[in-house]
């Protein structure tokens, strides 16, 4: 079956309104793009849209209560909600190193979840204050 999908290009301020036509998953045509980047973007967004996952996990005894984390590579867009949910129950202890692996191979995507900062334990930070 032939279907059309609409996307808005995010690669420059032009924000081209893209339209991709496919038949049974095979891309037939992309229109509305002003450059090659737009055409590629529409195909990626249709075939395999990906997003970098960022959220926070709870940290025990840290200078602040939440630790920001980030995926080491973009994950399938459809899995982002599930990924954040899976990380909701994770708790770590301070100190945390910048880049420390918090969760390995999340949802079988091959992406690790790492700490996006260093997080010192509460007591040390108070002494420094």
């Amino acid at each position: 079956m032939r279907r059309k999908h609409a996307f808005t290009c995010i690669n420059c301020p032009l924000s081209c309104a893209l339209e991709l036509t496919e038949e049974d998953g095979e891309v037939l045509e992309v229109t509305g793009h002003e450059c090659e980047v737009g055409r590629r973007y529409a195909e990626e967004e249709f075939r395999d849209p990906r997003r970098t996952v960022t959220t926070t996990v709870r940290v025990r005894n840290g200078v602040i209560p939440q630790l920001p984390v980030v995926s080491t590579r973009p994950m399938p867009e459809a899995l982002v909600r599930e990924a954040v949910k899976a990380l909701a129950d994770v708790e770590v202890d301070a100190p945390v190193r910048d880049g420390q692996v918090i969760y390995r191979d999340l949802l079988g995507t091959g992406a690790d979840i790492i700490a996006a900062r260093r997080l010192d334990p509460r007591s040390r930070a108070d002494e420094e204050g």
Partner: protein, 429 residues
């Protein structure tokens, strides 16, 4: 007994601007640098901006806010900068002396040779946009909600309406949704979105959150806690249209309605402010109207990219070091940069000509396709960039070389303008 301290340089605020400025001053050879921060840790707003997209210009890769801050914090810890956390600057005077206080040192009298203002900006609140209604709990600024969720681990509400489609509002629409809240919609008084397209797609469209353009909140309901808001369509003069009211049940109203450079201290010091930017008038070395006081980052103008904040901070840090070490004093001569066609304002506002290259940042007044951004002095072109599309949320930067700046100074005029691409030249560029 009040202690008197005499460092070479005091930097006020340890967000991206203050971190970049303090490090640049050290790199330029300044030894005795004091960095003052009122929060419990370094980084300013960055630690709570957990989304990615920072640093593409400075580092050539996209980082999250905490990662961007961490790179500077790591460098700072290896430097000789003296960091004063949990410390509030109470006063700054025209002679550059400051009064600061914390619970360990008590009240400090500080008389530095130079000062860099890096206080950043703060959020516009409900009271500044005059939303009628009751005054219940549950009306919160987007950045404050971001801090609650990302730093404190607290949910400000479960059923959320967002007013304003600036980037923070869009980012928080996604964040609330991922944390299990229901975002009823984003309402924007203008007829175009305030944030970047990237955020419209990845924060709203990905999560099926509706964006209502030309709409605003016209009443807040609820005596103790927000129970609902009334939203209305607005006409071309941004006035609510009677008969278009709709009641939206919610427990939280999130406001993303603008940022204001935080210049209370600048005013105390008698520094001239620019009504167009809300920040100090500065020259190309980021020096303000008061000698030896420099400014950088969002305190001088709210930037769209942290990379630009870092650039202005590095200029301010280097300039402050030159001021202290080499005695480079402000030149009397100066030229006011004129915002021309489709240019809302330009920073720096002044050119004095120190024989160095200079960067000028500006915002356009309205969206326009196929243009050239131009920095010129009569028929002399100092810088030009061809741009396919300019929009008010995205700042444009132009760089000019020392020779041409000198020539412009001699000619006595410098203009920034956005001109339509000539049809004859086509699109071959």
């Amino acid at each position: 007994m009040v202690r008197v301290r005499r460092p070479d340089l005091v930097v006020i605020g340890a967000g991206p601007a203050g971190l970049g400025a303090a490090l640049a001053a050290c790199d330029a050879g300044l030894k005795d640098v004091m960095l003052i921060e009122r929060d419990v840790e370094l980084g300013g707003i960055l630690p709570q901006c957990i989304h990615d997209g920072f640093g593409s210009i400075v580092f050539g890769e996209t980082l999250t806010g905490p990662q961007y801050a961490q790179r500077y914090i790591d460098r700072l810890e290896k430097s000789d900068v003296e960091v004063k956390l949990n410390t509030m600057v109470l006063d700054l005077r025209p002679d550059r002396s400051l009064t600061a206080v914390n619970s360990r040192d008590g009240v400090m009298e500080i008389r530095p040779k130079a000062v860099i203002l890096a206080m950043g900006c703060r959020e516009r609140t409900r009271h500044q946009i005059l939303i009628p209604g009751y005054r219940p709990a549950g009306v919160v600024c987007a950045g404050a909600a971001q801090r609650d969720i990302n730093i404190e681990g607290l949910m400000p509400g479960r059923r959320v309406v967002i007013l304003g489609s600036g980037d923070i509002g869009l980012i928080m629409a996604r964040r609330f949704t991922l944390e299990g809240a229901e975002v009823e919609g984003v309402y924007e008084i203008m007829d175009h979105p305030g944030g970047l397209t990237r955020n419209l797609v990845q924060c709203l469209h990905d999560y099926d959150i509706p964006l209502h353009l030309s709409h605003t909140v016209t009443f807040i309901h609820g005596r103790k806690r927000v129970e609902a808001v009334t939203v209305s369509r607005v006409d071309e003069n941004l006035k609510p249209v009677p008969g278009t009211e709709r009641l939206v049940p919610c427990d939280t109203l999130v406001l993303s309605v603008g940022l204001i450079p935080e210049n209370e201290l600048s005013k105390r010091a008698g520094i001239s402010l620019d009504p167009a930017t809300g920040g100090p008038v500065v020259d190309e070395r980021m020096e303000t109207s008061v000698e030896g006081i420099f400014a950088c980052g969002n305190v001088m103008n709210v930037f769209d990219l942290v990379d630009y904040v870092t650039h202005t901070a590095e200029t301010a840090g280097r300039s402050a070091a030159e001021y202290v070490l080499q005695g480079i004093r402000k030149r009397g001569e100066c030229l006011r940069v004129r915002p021309g066609r489709n240019v809302k304002f330009v920073v720096p506002q002044l050119l004095r000509g120190y024989g160095e290259e200079a960067h000028f940042y500006f915002r356009v007044s309205r969206p326009e396709r196929a243009v050239r951004a131009r920095l010129s002095s009569g028929d002399l072109l100092l810088a030009e960039r061809k741009i396919r599309m300019v929009r008010p949320p995205e700042m444009v930067r132009l760089k000019a070389d020392p020779e041409r700046l000198k020539e412009a100074l001699a000619r006595g005029e410098l203009d920034v303008q956005v001109v339509p691409e000539e049809e004859t030249k086509g699109r071959q560029g």
